[in-house]
Subunit: 346 residues, 2 copies
């Protein structure tokens, strides 16, 4: 029996696993689940695989993010990478590397959030690794596997001049949420409800006068972002020529498509004006623009399409042209954004 | 251009990636490699997946293990898990989470060792994740994917009374190596050559009089263990009824087969006498027995076979009987060994 006050050092590995395995619902494609040397997952063709880690003190702070937030965010990061290839997630492996002084409750809440999110996405928790770490260290990682359902993967390299640049999902909210937290905005926020079940509201445009609402949406999106997972495979079906998820900022990630494809992505200022306007009352105009252009951890999907006719949920941001890099209304932009070791590159 | 004195904080993420990608040779099954949102790997049927992490200060100490040692060991741990299912490795994803003060040389040496080991095993480096960590933190993780080549996976649950318990590979060497390091044996060791290319010697029995030789083999096996990767699929072909790799100790891992199968594994003392005798001159009789029975990180394969006729490279350790747990010459053994949070359970 595990009590709320216990730490990982006070329970056995098998005791802890026994208490978190019930959070992991089974899925038809999971042929061998947690408990053996490795998992076995059914595959109908090529396997899409990605991995993403989060470490306390760099990727989250305990005073701003709960274990449940971290689990939900880490899962979204990984599943968004699969969606950006046009794939549907099938399974995840979870790694928890933790100081033995970590509360058992943290590990359980984290596992519960991943399990719940995975079940919602129809993804099996296939296994993972549990390991102890030196004092203070808490790291979580997920590897996600996905299926292309017979389609070719959508790479970053297929954008061609004349194609339409489009996004599905929000822009700048996660970065705005982080700025609010850094400015002490969490305390100012009224309520701070958990974002569970709030996915429908996430794509809405919020009027600038509704500052409390947009503030909360930004805080929520920073803590536990949602991604338009179904839009990735649908974009692939619709013929998307290049795609990725916005994890390091629109300019930096857009620049990756531009470089891989050997083209220029020319964005239209008017297309992001509403995104900027929604954040401006919270942060000011300049910071709002910066969040929209360079804000990471958003996990919206950015793609190019051969036709101007976009699948439902997508909106045009601009046009692919000959050249290189990213431009905004024809003016070249530096590819600022998040660099994992250098930090924010201005 | 990256110089040896540089730290990760002094180079861009893309600069670092550009300097390590050349270590990763391509493989025919890798359809989309590093550089997109996710990798795409060919699959001929169900995918076997496992993940294992190592963190500095718990899983290795810099004064005993080089970056190259850590890379080789982490790869072996993961590929041994695939082999224990009867699978052949196809690809790996690599995670590096590091304090920006980490020397670039460490990251490069680590990546080079994984790349070389993967190439030797015919495994593609499909992608990974690179992330910064708080001061002092250095963590590496691999997720390995494998293929069953049309066979059923070998689980832990198929051992039946009358089956033969067998091992392929060494016993106790990694634990003995750790004890030697803890006792300052590294300094006493003459030469301390790298273990590269030394895989053939690893399975040999060494006469007790050759103390220098066995000392070095133990140190090498602790730092960069080899695993009999090909023996796993061959055991599956030969009808192995249960299998795992010895990662937490013979008694603890054997106990896992016993529990999953609802049987008792009855080991014969005479069958491990040579393993104990080889280590006894280094450590004394009692510690040598302890290393053989409870030493982890060995990555030999432990299996049960319906017949007493074993595939090449395997040797019998005992018999599966009705009952539970592990016994040695008929006497029940506590399932001591390594617990990740509680540590060594005596």
């Amino acid at each position: 029996m595990i009590t709320p006050a216990q730490t990982l050092g006070g329970v056995s590995e098998e005791g802890l696993l026994g208490s978190i395995f019930p959070f992991f619902t089974t899925q038809p494609g999971l042929l061998v689940g947690p408990g053996d040397d490795a998992a076995v997952v059914a595959a109908s063709g090529p396997v899409v695989a990605t991995t993403d880690a989060m470490v306390r003190g760099r990727d989250w702070l305990d005073q701003w993010s709960s274990a449940s937030d971290v689990g939900a965010k880490l899962l979204t990061q990984n599943l968004a990478d699969l969606a950006a290839m046009g794939a549907v997630g099938t399974s995840v492996l979870i790694t928890l590397v933790a100081d033995p002084a970590t509360p058992v409750a943290w590990a359980r809440d984290f596992a519960k959030a991943v399990g719940e999110g995975a079940a919602l996405a129809g993804v099996a928790v296939a296994g993972g690794d549990l390991s102890s770490a030196p004092p203070g260290v808490l790291l979580v990682s997920i590897t996600a596997l996905g299926d292309l359902q017979g389609r070719a993967p959508v790479l970053r390299s297929g954008a061609r001049p004349g194609h339409t640049v489009a996004v599905c999902g929000t822009l700048g909210r996660s970065a705005a949420g982080l700025r609010l937290l850094e400015a002490g905005g969490d305390q100012a926020a009224d309520g701070d409800q958990a974002a569970d079940g709030d996915q429908a509201a996430d794509g809405d445009q919020v009027s600038p006068s509704d500052q409390g609402g947009i503030r909360q949406l930004c805080l929520d999106h920073h803590r536990r972002p949602t991604a338009p997972l179904a839009a990735g495979p649908l974009a692939a079906v619709a013929g998307a020529s290049a795609m990725l998820d916005v994890s390091d900022g629109l300019l930096r990630d857009g620049g990756r498509i531009a470089r891989a494809s050997g083209v220029c992505l020319d964005l239209v200022g008017a297309a992001i004006a509403a995104d900027v306007a929604a954040l401006a009352p919270l942060l000011g105009e300049a910071a709002a623009l910066d969040c929209v252009l360079a804000g990471g951890e958003e996990h919206s999907l950015l793609a190019t399409f051969p036709s101007a006719e976009l699948p439902p949920g997508w909106r045009a941001l601009g046009t692919v042209r000959e050249g290189e890099g990213i431009s905004l209304d024809g003016r070249a932009q530096r590819q600022r954004g998040w660099d994992h070791f250098a930090g924010d590159v201005p």
